[in-house]
Symmetry: C2
Subunit: 369 residues, 2 copies
Amino acid sequence: MKIRTKTEHFTNPLYLESGRILEPFDLTYETYGELNADKSNAVVVCHALTGSHHAAGRYENETKPGWWDGIIGDGKAIDTTRYCVICVNTLGSCFGSTGPMSPRFPSSEPYRLKFPVVTITDMVRAQRFLFDRLGIHKAHAVIGGSLGGMQALCFAIEHPNFSGRIISLASTYATQPWAIAFNKIAMEAVLNDPRFKEGQYDPKEIQEDGLVSLALGRMAGHISFLSPDSMAKKFGRNYVDTDGLYELFGRFQVERYLEYNGHNFSKRFDPLSYLYIIKAMNIFDATRNFESLHDSLSHVRAKLTLIGFRGDLLFLPEEMATIKKTMDDLGRAHLAEYIEIDSKYGHDAFLVELDKIDMHIKRALEAKA
Amino acid sequence: MKIRTKTEHFTNPLYLESGRILEPFDLTYETYGELNADKSNAVVVCHALTGSHHAAGRYENETKPGWWDGIIGDGKAIDTTRYCVICVNTLGSCFGSTGPMSPRFPSSEPYRLKFPVVTITDMVRAQRFLFDRLGIHKAHAVIGGSLGGMQALCFAIEHPNFSGRIISLASTYATQPWAIAFNKIAMEAVLNDPRFKEGQYDPKEIQEDGLVSLALGRMAGHISFLSPDSMAKKFGRNYVDTDGLYELFGRFQVERYLEYNGHNFSKRFDPLSYLYIIKAMNIFDATRNFESLHDSLSHVRAKLTLIGFRGDLLFLPEEMATIKKTMDDLGRAHLAEYIEIDSKYGHDAFLVELDKIDMHIKRALEAKA
């Protein structure tokens, strides 16, 4: 399987949901597999909050492959000998696509806090520009988990003719206050960090050791990615060998795990991008520009596969089931299936419990649309 | 009902679980109701992490009464015309009992980070000194929720003859990694706050506007006190009227709630006390000085009433049920009852859903021991 990484530059204006305009903008994306002659075999994969376009395969010298490598590849559930997989770095992110640290044309200075708020709708609209340029006017499927699942649902509602198959995992139709509350921790931590300098930080300076506040926000995120059960199984009450039980700063293994993941994250992710993408997640509401969820889902033409995970405490499986129920109420039961995966992994399940989901994804991709 | 608030000074050494000694120490406590002639009608109420000895009644000019005023009072579930209720500010706290900002005898300088780690065992031992001085050698009951529930269970295991009735709510036999992870956010936030000054802060200076980092830690706490359901019911996706949806710092009502509660808290609670008490919570493990939970519970002589709440995501009801199950395994089913309250309130339920618990408490207090 060959990995191709590219960046496309767009000079046409992107009219954002907020009324603001983004112009010009770049999108960085990766493909695996070959487009067929009529360009009908594209499978669009949408990444989560802190993910990137690097969904599969391994770059030279890379220790870990892309984030969904277990699902995407030759002979895998998303079979790259049959499909051409495309994964686009979302607008607002920091891995090549335009985000708050991109130059604010015509200046060469970064936008920083002058970057416009982007929504899931905007992220999806931007992707359509790219697909149009690539000659992909209809995709075989769109698939994504979490923030990627929001994008997939947005494709189904706002671009009903673009894809015959939509697979959304561990996501929701509208972000609920519990998830917003977790994001709040990161938002507050970063904003109050003197090293954030109200957005005027030197990116090189903070990349070296990472913003502690961003690490902290990420730790809160990691709590929500797991669950009481998965934490108990993973760490128990085990103590870090070198730390003392009666020392105030002695640590349990779960604490060391949070520190490790938080600090690593803060070195690889841009704080402003984080603020903008959690904003996009917070204000995601598939009903916003419609009368109701019934109204928005009445636009769906694709076959919708909704996958929820029982242990997910960030986007509860009930939220996915609500989408299915609403489709049923609309007399469109034949267009929507809901699969609830028994998992104790928490929100991360869609990245971890691949053996429980890959047959569902394979089947959904092969379904007649 | 008369409120009496007092502080007792102890000069005898308190031998801590860690091997360190605390000497001298103060305990501040409050009583409601009158001790009977043989001092057998004391009901010991143990407060939670950030609570205080002010459990009931209202001081002059106070807008809100004590934290369990709905349960404690004349004619209420814990009837102060029958019982003498005593609530002691825990060791390590900041409302009068000895904690990290108390002077380190013989110096008049505060302990700060030289304060020893105290455990639930230590908090309970200290209380026994007070009760001894008051002539209370056997209590009618011990009752508490959350950290107070840990103390109640500790009374049952380590002081089996002290009370015939133990009621523990929304608590656990050993703090699980999920709860430790929530506490980690507060710990890291405070430690990395330049205004915390590695514990050398001026308390007056930070009390005025509160440590932002402590507010942040408390916000993480508030997430765990609620639940996805209760947040959805309480706030929905409602936006703060004056805030813009497409403004990066526009806020949902849930965010304003977290800010408000976090900041208020940071003005009334001492950061070092917070670190020491979450440490005590984290390392609570009723099996630590025993071979197993079976072994520790085999010491129980009291009637144990265990109350769990279905929506509690901090201390899962399963954890309380485990105590009941272990008592059953020990052939002591007659000594333990487990009540699971159907609540969507999250961990806060024991402070909020009083109409669902007060009859159980009343009954447990009247049971023959």
